[in-house]
């Protein structure tokens, strides 16, 4: 019996199939990732925080989208400078928060004091938060090669207060201005410490990630949104 020859599969249409797929991806492709602005909502809580007035940078917008900083009318661009001044100013300046000093010894002392306190009161949430904050500060000091730094106290915060009728655009611009000020400070610190601007660090890289975290310890993003209420 004659052996039947195995028929070859015709691969001629392979190119057509590939073209079809190619065109599909060509059409659906967008090279840029969507651009966003981040925010973390606060926990729902009925507790009112009592804050020292000088530890708060108050930014308001009224129903006509006019901006106020610390109770005085201002332009949008002024927010940036106010934020920079809030984070970086001479120690002991009036109406501005006083710094806390952070270096290796202070970190270690505070951590061991807090750990001792946690043994006595194992469920105190405030101690845990503090312990967490100081451990991250210690990591930052190590990342800076042992150099200490000054940072704002935990309860220092930028507070945003919007009227119910304020436009969403104004809110976004205010957040943008705060981040502009903050990123300016972070950039110059990062160049000073690591010779690279903050915005060029990549959080997917482990060594960069530690640098980002260290810079953030010095200039933390602290924004508190107050209940929307009518502002005169």
């Amino acid at each position: 019996m004659a052996k039947r020859e195995v028929e070859e599969i015709n691969a001629g249409s392979m190119a057509d199939i590939a073209f079809l797929l190619l065109i599909f991806f060509l059409i659906t492709t967008t090279m840029n990732l969507p651009q966003v602005q981040e925010e973390r909502l606060p926990q729902k809580s009925d507790v009112e925080f009592l804050l020292n007035e000088k530890n708060v940078l108050q930014i308001m917008a009224n129903k006509n989208d006019k901006i106020g900083i610390e109770g005085e009318f201002a332009e949008l661009e002024d927010i940036q400078h106010a934020v920079v001044k809030f984070y970086q100013h001479e120690d002991g300046a009036r109406n501005l928060p006083s710094y806390i000093e952070v270096d290796k010894k202070i970190c270690e002392d505070t951590i061991s004091a807090l750990e001792a306190a946690l043994v006595v009161y194992p469920d105190a949430p405030l101690f845990k938060i503090e312990l967490d904050a100081w451990s991250r500060r210690l990591e930052a000091v190590n990342e800076f090669g042992g150099a200490g730094f000054k940072t704002l106290p935990n309860n220092a915060t930028v507070s945003i207060q919007m009227d119910n009728s304020t436009k969403y655009e104004t809110y976004m611009k205010v957040l943008d201005q705060i981040m502009l000020g903050l990123n300016h400070l972070r950039d110059s610190l990062c160049i000073d410490k690591f010779n690279v601007p903050f915005s060029k660090l990549n959080d997917k890289v482990e060594s960069d990630k530690q640098k980002i975290s260290a810079i953030r310890q010095v200039y933390p993003k602290k924004i508190m949104k107050e209940k929307n209420r009518s502002v005169q």
């Binding site: 190119a15 590939a18 659906t28 492709t29 990732l33 925010e39 655009e169 502009l180 929307n228």
Partner: protein, 153 residues
């Protein structure tokens, strides 16, 4: 008789197309790797996005709930909220929706890390609406919010 035949014309060889699929596949893989699918869009509301300077890239491979707040087309001052595919009538629908979403293990596992509430809001929207939506998010313990914006040059 000559050594070189003049009579017969040589047939020109055709260009081989065998390498064509390879080339096409190479292009295909390039676009497959670089592709990012276009963001979900709404067709029920008109949204004019805000442009700001300091933006960050939205992370890849996230789980998200999409909120659109914008004008109903053809009406001047009728701002509505759209959640996924439908306009909502009552803000409490948001809470129910998120609670339901969280029951799905695909979402609950990443709830505190890779789950985002993506907001696309018209710039003329009043903050009271945004606030009401976010109050519902707090009730559902979905705290991470990103606002979709355009990058200002």
């Amino acid at each position: 008789m000559s050594k070189f035949s003049k009579g017969k014309k040589k047939k020109e060889p055709g260009i081989s197309t065998a390498a064509l699929p390879d080339i096409v596949f190479m292009l295909l893989f390039f676009f497959m790797v670089t592709t990012v699918f276009k963001e979900k869009e709404t067709n029920k509301l008109e949204i004019d996005k805000v442009a700001i300077k300091e933006t960050i890239d939205l992370e890849k491979n996230i789980k998200a709930a999409y909120f659109w707040i914008g004008r109903v087309p053809g009406k001047v001052d009728d701002f509505r909220v759209q959640l996924d595919d439908d306009l909502i009538n009552d803000y409490e629908e948001i809470r129910d929706y998120l609670v339901k979403l969280r029951k799905n293990p695909e979402y609950s596992q990443v709830w505190d890390s890779r789950f985002f509430n993506v907001f696309k809001v018209d710039k003329k929207t009043e903050m009271r609406i945004v606030k009401k939506v976010q109050d519902e998010l707090k009730e559902a313990e979905a705290f991470k919010v990103v606002y979709s914006v355009n990058k200002e040059k």
